[in-house]
């Protein structure tokens, strides 16, 4: 393959004519890489600070437990990213249907586990594979994107006709429905956000997008009303509109969110300092802070400055993805970038917004920063795809 690159003539007369400028390995977006790396490293510090002093019920403090695992996940994620980058994204696109099938099957399996009540009342969201858990809903972000892009970019048209749009909707809708039924409402919104971005850039009419919104709201509403969704998820939604509820169950949910806001707000401008936050570092007031509310830990310890740095890094990442979407040589690359862009935008926004109390609480992790193997691997894989587009934009 490398030889093939060398044989090619450069597309443009820029750079080193002899050593082809279009060699994929020479075209890695290092700005994007750096931003992602910075976010991941910040994530490690945040995960440590939010978990080291806490202990499972009746156990000793976690200490380095979560941060160590997260480092392993990161190493694995980098390897996955390298693999994704190595193969041309068209190679991946051609195998999209296979990955998609695997994803749907695994989602069905998870659903069956829940129907069989393996979790004994608790919702099962992942397969336990030895020391790690695999969350199909996370991996699905990667595979659904590939499948959708593969399907839409098949036709070389500027417009997305209604027929194709509906099929694309079914393509996304099936796994989304499976996620809703798990039930994992938060994760289900991510493919939808991705679909909005992809179809929009692919030339969908505005009313198509409205249709996605309408269908999502109807589905989620139906799921809520039919009782598929358990009380916990329902309460998290209800409490957003009734912060001062007298209902004890709602109060417990509100507690987590309210403490997250408190932690963040008490950080003030410059924060209390690393490991100096009373709520993050010395209380158990925000359950599972390292996965659900890492941004509150950022806010308390590093203040508004820290929060803005994180948001700025996300902005850099998004800007680079956006740029790659523009540079892409074909529609497939553009759509991949658009999908990753909209997924990441939605997920980062939703997680931070719920931390600052402007969105209902869902379990969506903050990309690169939240603890969680499946999430980190998936996002690194998505970054691999984006880099892939960047690397091979000169073909």
């Amino acid at each position: 393959m490398t030889l093939a690159f060398l044989r090619r003539k450069p597309d443009r007369g820029l750079g080193n004519i002899h050593a082809s400028a279009s060699a994929p390995s020479r075209n890695i977006d290092w700005v994007l890489m750096t931003a992602v790396a910075l976010l991941s490293v910040i994530g490690l510090f945040i995960i440590y600070s939010a978990s080291y002093s806490k202990a499972p019920i009746g156990g000793s403090p976690y200490g380095f437990f979560f941060v160590t695992r997260q480092q392993v996940f990161l190493i694995f994620a980098v390897i996955v990213m390298a693999v994704v980058m190595y193969f041309d994204y068209e190679w991946w696109r051609d195998r999209a249907n296979f990955f998609y099938g695997v994803t749907v099957v695994s989602l069905v399996l998870i659903l069956m586990l829940n129907v069989l009540n393996v979790g004994d009342g608790r919702t099962v969201l992942s397969f336990d594979v030895g020391p790690i858990n695999v969350q199909p809903a996370e991996i699905a972000k990667f595979t659904i994107l590939l499948a959708l892009v593969a399907f839409i970019s098949d036709e070389r048209s500027e417009h997305l006709d209604y027929h194709r749009f509906v099929i694309g909707l079914v393509l996304v809708g099936v796994p989304v429905l499976l996620m809703i039924l798990q039930p994992d409402l938060g994760s289900a919104t991510v493919p939808l956000a991705m679909m909005v971005g992809v179809t929009w850039v692919a030339g969908a009419k505005l009313r198509y997008l409205l249709m996605i919104f309408g269908l999502s709201v109807a589905t989620i509403g139906a799921a809520l009303l039919s009782g598929f969704v358990n009380d916990y998820q329902l309460n998290r939604f209800a409490v957003f509109f009734d912060q001062d509820s007298s209902d004890q169950r709602l109060r417990d949910v509100a507690y987590q969110g309210r403490n997250a806001i408190r932690a963040l707000a008490t950080g003030g401008l410059t924060g209390r300092g690393w490991l100096e936050g009373p709520i993050t570092n010395a209380s158990k007031d925000i359950p599972v802070q390292w996965a659900d509310f890492p941004f509150s830990a950022v806010g308390e310890q590093f203040g508004m400055v820290g929060g803005l740095v994180v948001i700025a890094l996300f902005s850099v990442v998004l800007a680079r993805i956006w740029r790659i979407a523009q540079l892409s040589k074909d529609m497939t690359g553009t759509l991949i970038c658009a999908g990753v862009f909209s997924m990441m935008l939605w997920q980062a926004f939703q997680n931070i917004a719920m931390t600052v109390g402007v969105m209902p609480i869902t379990g969506l992790p903050l990309p690169f920063i939240s603890y969680g193997g499946s999430g980190i691997v998936t996002y690194f894989a998505l970054m691999g795809l984006v880099q892939n587009v960047h690397m091979r934009r000169y073909r």
Binding site: G267, G268, P278, G299, L308, I311, Q326, L345
Partner: protein
């Protein structure tokens, strides 16, 4: 072209992302920039626990330092509100606690929810402060505390706090003066909360406990503790610490020896009047037959027709009701009240005994068992000395005499011929009743029981008139005041403090009533007076005021204060029940006493407060003093035969130099058994600087019931009679059905010797 379109679409995505991230940035700035401080405070509050510490209430001493009201530390079992928020947990915990605390589960449940298991509608409000632990049982023993603490894992959230309970070591003495405490009523709740009180605090409800609440209360302290997530205390936050400030101690001017003696004398005299009937034929009360005027009143009637048409037969033996009374003893040089008794009395420890509402109703009924309004004569929780609404009877005459001389109507030498009756001269005779008119023009003296005619005292001066209590003399004055100026008598009487509150430090003081046009009109309009009465002050009303009957009314304290004005030569003082205010926490002295010498006086009431200086030159004051002295010592006047003065026989051989005046205030329908007995007196020398007033309701003549009480009191005040020593009381007998145990004089001989002459 394709690229352009893609760019356009991608720009939309970029715009959306900018908007969303911008939104987050703004929110971040709002939370961490604008609201950060507010959140920090809120978080600090959530992570601390504040424990409030009750101040020790100021104590009340008598003039000798006896502790009339003190505090006892007690242990109270409380529970954390959050532990019992769920009804299931609450019921379970309270069921377990019911046994050790010896309290029914329902009562415990009602501490949390006042309407628990009560019929609806129930409008009981929450009585306890939700910022403080919920008190479940006050005053538990050390054993119960030990039992609960040893098993603390079985009783989660249960704690024991130290509180104070009010004690009255000498109860029931001076209960009306000291008063009592009670829960804050709903009407006053806002006011008290605004002053830093806690919702379930007890506050003064009566007496000095109420009127000096501000001085006695003190200020709450607090401790703020930092707590961890499990609620355990980590450390105290010293910067928030506030020490409680105990209330000021109050020393009353009351001398408990005299107070006890006054209460005993009052009750003994009332009981004697109740149990010893009087022979009507030996009394002046039965009126002559008004139709028998031409027969020289030789027949006496024993039956009366009341205005509503019912006929009342007079029994030969008159039984007095003698339900209530009041005694005031004050030092007329400085206005300090030495004793103040009101009967029926009560034991103020009942209010601290935690008795049930039914028991309280039984002791202090507000309604009769059949639901009708209670006879006001029997009401207990009223201090008649400052709230009594009384006619003065003839005890008003010294003040009328002063007013007449002050206004220049008479001099000390003016002589008026008393022929037993006075016929108004300012009314056209044709309008008079005896001539077929409507106005009452003839006012008579009281009947003499021997002649069965109105007593005739002949030519009398003001001194004679006071000595024998000549009504006719004062009828004439009443008319002359009216003729000169209708407001004149009122303005003169106001100089003695009638018609306005005295300013003593006691609650619920009545300001009294001097009739004028407005007062009478209001009384007629309110239906107190018969609608046929003229709604303005008539000459007849003024004539009645001149002998202390009719519309004029005052409190015993006002009357006493007016006598004190005569006694001290014209100074109208502001009476004071408080002698000194001491700095908080005066140390204890002998058992039952505080060590006043070791205390610090922060405010003294020893200096008399002069409200007014009345002009009392010798030519005005001397004939009054002379007349009042003759009431005690004689002589009376000789006209046809010798007329003794009203107190002459009672005070025969009396060794204390006093002047005084009896009075008999006529009661409902002028029936003889409704007469109230009044006596006002003051010591003449510097050794006896005491003015006393005794008012015994429905007890007969002034000389029969009230004057003996005063007589005994002067003996006690001058140490000429042995009085019972004052002891700390026995514990309150909860099973008793009496508001207070009877108090009887051990030596009643000083009460004897009454003559039985009216007025």
């Amino acid at each position: 072209m394709a690229i352009d379109r893609r760019t356009k679409r991608l720009s939309v995505l970029a715009t959306v992302s900018l908007v969303l991230f911008g939104l987050l940035g703004v929110r971040l700035w709002f939370l961490q920039g604008v609201q950060a401080d507010e959140f920090r405070q809120r978080v600090a509050a959530a992570k601390t626990r504040t424990v409030y510490i009750a101040p020790e209430r100021g104590r009340v001493f008598d003039a000798d330092g006896r502790i009339l009201a003190g505090n006892r530390r007690m242990l109270t079992v409380t529970v954390d509100w959050s532990v019992v928020r769920l009804k299931k947990n609450r019921l379970a915990l309270f069921t377990r606690l019911s046994g050790p605390l010896k309290t029914p589960v329902d009562d415990l449940m009602r501490r949390y929810d006042p309407c628990y298991n009560l019929p609806k509608p129930c409008n009981e409000g929450q009585r306890y402060d939700t910022l403080l632990p919920l008190p479940l049982k006050e005053d538990v023993s050390e054993e119960v505390v030990a039992f609960l603490m040893e098993r603390s894992e079985d009783y989660p959230g249960i704690d024991v706090v130290e509180q104070y309970r009010r004690v009255y070591p000498y109860a029931p003495l001076a209960s009306h003066v000291i008063g009592y405490m009670g829960a804050i009523t709903r009407d006053n709740l806002e006011t008290y909360l605004a002053q830093g009180y806690k919702r379930n605090e007890r506050v003064g409800q009566f007496g000095v406990e109420l009127s000096l609440e501000r001085e006695l209360h003190g200020q709450w302290g607090k401790r703020v503790y930092e707590i961890d997530a499990s609620g355990a205390v980590v450390r105290e936050l010293d910067e928030f610490r506030i020490e409680p400030v105990a209330g000021f101690d109050v020393q009353l001017s009351i001398d408990l020896d005299i107070q006890q003696y006054a209460e005993q004398a009052l009750e003994t005299s009332l009981r004697l009047r109740r149990y010893l009937p009087e022979d009507l034929t030996q009394l002046d009360s039965a009126p002559h037959n008004p139709l028998d005027r031409n027969n020289q009143f030789l027949t006496r009637i024993y039956q009366r027709t009341l205005p509503d048409g019912t006929k009342v037969d007079y029994p030969q033996w008159v039984q007095h009701k003698a339900p209530a009374g009041s005694v005031v003893v004050m030092n007329h040089n400085n206005g300090q009240l030495v004793a103040m008794a009101s009967y029926p009395t009560f034991d103020n420890r009942w209010m601290e005994a935690g008795i049930s509402g039914d028991k309280f109703q039984q002791l202090f009924p507000s309604k009769n068992p059949d639901g009708s309004n209670l006879d006001p004569d029997l009401s207990i929780l009223v201090n008649r000395a400052v709230s009594g609404n009384y006619n003065l009877g003839s005890t008003i005459k010294p003040f009328i005499a002063w007013a007449a001389m002050h206004a220049g109507i008479i001099t000390r030498d003016t002589v008026h011929l008393d022929e037993g009756e006075y016929i108004l001269t300012s009314i056209d005779p044709a309008d008079c009743q005896q001539n077929g008119g409507i106005a009452r023009c003839i006012f008579k003296n009281a009947t003499n029981k021997n002649t069965l005619r109105p007593s005739k005292y002949g030519p009398v001066t003001v001194s004679d008139a006071l000595a024998v209590s000549s009504d006719t003399f004062f009828y004439k004055l009443g008319e002359e005041f009216y003729v000169r100026d209708r407001q004149l008598l009122k303005s003169e009487l106001e100089r003695f403090g009638f018609g306005s509150v005295s300013g003593v430090q006691l609650p619920f003081e009545w300001k009294g009533r001097i009739p004028d046009n407005d007062v009478k009109k209001a009384l007629v309009e309110r239906g107190v007076l018969d609608p046929s009465e003229v709604p303005r002050l008539t000459v007849g009303d003024n004539v009645q005021v001149a002998i202390g009957q009719g519309l004029m009314a005052a409190t015993p304290l006002q009357i006493a204060n007016a006598y004190a004005t005569l006694a001290n030569g014209g100074l109208l003082l502001q009476p004071s029940i408080v002698k000194n205010i001491y700095a908080p926490l005066t140390p204890d002295g002998l058992p039952g006493f505080a060590d006043l010498a070791a205390g610090t006086v922060v405010m003294s009431y020893a200096e008399p407060v002069v409200r007014d200086e009345l002009e009392m030159p010798p030519e005005v004051l001397d004939p009054i003093i002379e007349g009042l002295t003759r009431v005690i010592r004689g002589p009376g006047v000789r006209y046809d035969f010798y007329h003794a003065t009203t107190g002459q026989r009672l005070f025969r051989g009396f060794t204390v130099d006093i002047a005084g005046k009896t009075g008999t205030a006529q009661g409902a329908a002028n029936l003889p058994w409704n007469d109230s007995s009044v006596f006002g007196a003051f010591g003449l020398g510097p050794d006896v600087p005491f003015t006393t007033l005794a008012y015994l309701e429905k007890s007969g003549y002034g000389s029969k019931a009230a004057a003996p009480v005063a007589k005994c009191l002067y003996l006690a005040l001058t140490g000429q009679i042995r009085i019972d020593p004052v002891y700390v009381s026995d514990p309150l007998d909860i099973s008793s059905n009496l508001p207070a145990p009877p108090m009887i004089l051990s030596n009643r001989s000083c009460l004897d010797g009454s003559a039985g002459i009216r007025d």
